[in-house]
Symmetry: D2
């Protein structure tokens, strides 16, 4: 079987597990008061070229929901894409941790939200009204849930609209590495320099094992978040084993090599399917995911050929490239798709 | 330095980290739909001699708070010891995840709750009243937060009172292994056979690294809990790396060997301080913790001798034994205490 | 000024305030244990031809949010119309009282939800998935937020789909009286006989003063709700003053006379504007509200003529008829609209 | 029957219901945007001699819980008396509306909290720790739940300790009028001048009918509270009927006359029982409540004599005086107690 189901079905990068082993010596204070976690703070400050607070957490859902809970009062409104992960796939964790905050969808292309649409939503919800809730934050998924990547200008435009109304800007960076690798920019440029206040920094989907992180740029959010994380059961007593993973993840550019690799595989497949009869990419491939409309029966045929992927509808398939997908696997998928679609086209004649 | 600060300052058992490495091959479905997690279910069913659902979670706080949230409506009362960890050290996580549930202290000895005191509390809160909240669950910490261990009869007595009023019984087993090792009973005898409905199964304090677990005996609680865990950001997408740790933890009796070792060290220290002038154990030593009242200045002197421990008050010190504490370290502590206390006694003459 | 702004800008029916005065004698137990509240239970059981529990509450928001909190676990999904009051105008009270439950819009006409659209939404959210939340309840607004009224068959069709999946059916009856008056059916037919489990029974908009009520048909919901209401600060200690209002409201058919009157005024205006150039009703007028698209400038002109109403957009005006609106006021509005629109039409030629 | 059960079993002062009738004319904007509510703001600013925001609410539970939710983050600790109403009788509404905040008992006499005990509690919970929650607010019940009244100095002393750590000071003034009447001070002196930031201003227990109020002195709390109240279903659409009650309540000193009357009745009873054999006041009578320890069987005998009251334990009875209790009723109670206790004393010889 060749697995394109998700970037969370894969292995961890060996460097990350090795770091766990290396951290297993001596004693260390619990709950993040250890040396590994102290070094993590410094390492991320260097990586992001500014003062940050970094909080390792178990999952991206925790990172997103607690970031938003820190950014909004419980009666707040958080604007996001209709298809944002926080809106479709996290069991309303943001609403739960946020004490009743509400997600409000904003239009945009390929999983982005548009600055103009955000501006219109804010205009429709003027200061002083109390019956809808108070605009509090905006969420950007970078890379998006349709495999798109915001440009730096697009992030900046959304942030500017948000900041005028005092909204916090949260970036769901479950695939932050893939987006940085795509844009070729610095982590700073894609986050605080573009107006991001707080970041869900994903590692798991890109070769991590058991932790992601929250990176806080707006220092006013950090102390409250620290206590919310403790209450949320997201502060490991043996935190060193989480911090060590995150250190290894960014060491020597590992994270960007891994993301560059999965991006390249996705691009290779995208190039391969270009012009194929009956096959249509429903969104530009800018990171490591492909969303393909396929002819009837093609998905069954692909599975018979040994490929694994997710069906989003009867005609829409999602393929996700992991850091350890090979060009051989990519070419096999393209080859299989080509053969299947040719057969379908001939049968249709 | 010799570290008696906590059982969470220590290393992980190497077997547990090795299991992570071994689990790092091939692809696997996310969010617990993998083979490792399936095997974990079977392994724990065998371990507990009954049908169970096992949910790996990141921390003991998550295990406790989500177990209680599953056991109580949001307007429920959860009875616990005044000094229970859920009441003193988890930032009211139970109240948060429980949507406003309230912890109500019940008297008892050495961190236990007494069945009689529970019965009295329930009598004072009769069915039908609405101004206090509804009795919903009872929490037992086993081993207790003063290093005590409930006997099987004591657990059974509390459970019986609880069950008459329809309360769920939750055991906070952060040190479940230490208690099983102490009692020499089976895990089943100390849990569901004694009336426990849901168990926080600790591993971190006893050689684990990054996960504990919830073990559900009352199957009616499991489905709701599963979705609450997802919302709580406690379901890793690469769950195999958690499940593999828990498998290794119980494999070949590792967990009980580790707990037996830390218990023995604590007992050795307890025996050593017996009769020492000015030194008083404020609770019987039944697991791996010691709570010692010491003469004025003794704690400073101990620190000068290179020992690390927690000060609970100006005269009360806590010493916790880890699985990898040595008899040499125990004897060094006893020796140092003996010398310090003799000095104090002479100075007092 | 002639006021068509809302049915909550109006007076209370004098009978209702008189009942307050009459209840002001002697002493009575607090928190609903009084005789007035006991009689209210019997009176509503007779009114609804079945065993019910009636809970007076301060507002419709409380009635809706607490009804839904009683009908759903905190991780539940409540299906409703996109424009339902609970979704647009209650500050996400349902999400708050529901501990994080989520509202999910379902399509339909004129503020209704369609049974087919509900069925499709449920199919897309199959049992066992945990990443979206669990389908738990459906909310119908009767009369709808666009002045429409569900037929009994429409309610029944939605309920049937809901019940197949175990969902509770909640009716937001802020204008329940208007809908009963419109359909000419019994309260029972429009509620439990059509599958409704729990009802927000509005009084305030139809001549009430300071209370609405929750009417519970599914007795399994009542005890939990009782305690939630107490915690929500919705149980008056001098409950008799609320119960007396509700008794007076339904006494001798007062409620249906009041609703019949406001419905008739709305119908009179609807008939009057039929065929007027430049004026368009965007929804059939089935209760006491009219939503009119008007030519540019018409709203300004109407205000200059002394009419009060709400602007929903630059071209859409809402007019609400209260129980004490007069035919003279209705005719004045129609006359003014006719003149304004004729002027606009001439100016456009 | 002569009723001493509670001050919420009684009638409303006729002036308050009359105000409802008088407010029932013309139309008015909903949700507090009416003229009555505007006048209420001015009236209370004059009454409290400072700028305030006044929010009518349905119940004292709502006033308390929402005041505290406005004063604390969801991970906050609110210090209060062990026997405070918020801790014993409001179904943990503060914990619910506060999103998981926790009440922490502080010692003191007769339902007060002591400034020293508060200082000690704060010292034990230093800044920066995260495992207990963050000290956020302190709650004073004035008059207390044992019928005591804080002196102005006592309030000031607690506030001073609180303010040093940045805690908000909330006063539960369910019997605020009784305390003001007792102290003979101004409302300002007993609230913001003594450090109170936010006040639950009770009316119901002192001749009100269907509303209490929150009075906000710390203006930074008001805007968030406004939206929380809306979400809580505590903002009546026909708010004028609530505001009119509160206006009438304070008009011409009505509230203090009523409270003075019930206080005087309580004092009369207290004087009457002084020295009675077998009868003991367990707390000084400073407002309108008496807590009496009585000989075995005395409570049964009192009930046979036609008196109603609450049993707090087998030997402890609570008697509450309403604004409309008469001296005749007081004397009857004293007479009955004297006879019963004499009988008991004789029987004991």
């Amino acid at each position: 079987m060749i697995d394109f189901r998700s970037d969370n079905t894969g292995r961890a990068a060996p460097e990350i597990l090795d770091a766990l082993i290396r951290a297993n010596e001596g004693t260390a204070l619990g709950y993040g008061a250890d040396e590994w976690t102290a070094r993590l703070q410094d390492r991320f400050a260097a990586l992001f070229e500014t003062n940050v607070r970094v909080f390792p957490v178990a999952t991206g859902t925790a990172a997103n929901a607690l970031s938003l809970a820190a950014s909004s009062p419980s009666w707040g409104i958080v604007y996001c894409s209709e298809i944002a992960h926080i809106n479709t796939a996290e069991t309303n964790a943001a609403g739960f941790f946020g004490g009743g905050l509400k997600l409000a969808p904003v239009a945009g292309s390929y999983g982005r939200i548009s600055a103009d649409a955000l501006a219109a939503a804010l205009t429709a919800n003027p200061p002083g009204q109390t019956h809808r809730g108070a605009p509090a934050a905006v969420n950007l998924t970078q890379a998006t849930d349709l495999g798109g990547v915001y440009s730096l200008d697009e992030i900046g435009a959304v942030s500017e609209i948000a900041k005028r109304r005092g909204l916090k800007v949260h970036m769901d960076g479950a695939r932050f590495a893939n987006a940085v690798a795509r844009l070729g920019c610095t982590p700073a440029e894609m986050s605080w320099k573009a107006g991001v206040d707080i970041l869900s920094f994903g590692a798991t989907k890109n070769g991590g094992a058991l932790c992601d992180a929250i990176v806080v740029f707006d220092q006013g959010l950090a102390d409250g978040l620290a206590i919310q994380l403790r209450r949320a059961g997201q502060v490991w007593s043996k935190m060193r084993f989480a911090s060590a993973q995150l250190m290894a993840y960014v060491e020597n550019g590992l994270w960007l090599r891994l993301a560059g690799s999965s991006n390249a595989i996705a691009a290779r497949i995208a190039a391969g399917v270009e012009g194929m009869t009956g096959v249509r990419l429903i969104a530009p491939v800018e990171a490591n995911e492909l969303f393909l409309e396929l002819p009837p029966g093609a998905m069954d045929a692909l599975e018979r050929d040994g490929f694994q992927f997710y069906r989003r509808s009867v005609t829409l398939a999602r393929f996700v490239c992991r850091f350890d997908c090979t060009t051989g696997e990519a070419d096999a998928l393209v080859g299989s798709l080509a053969r299947i679609c040719e057969d379908k086209a001939q049968a249709a004649e």
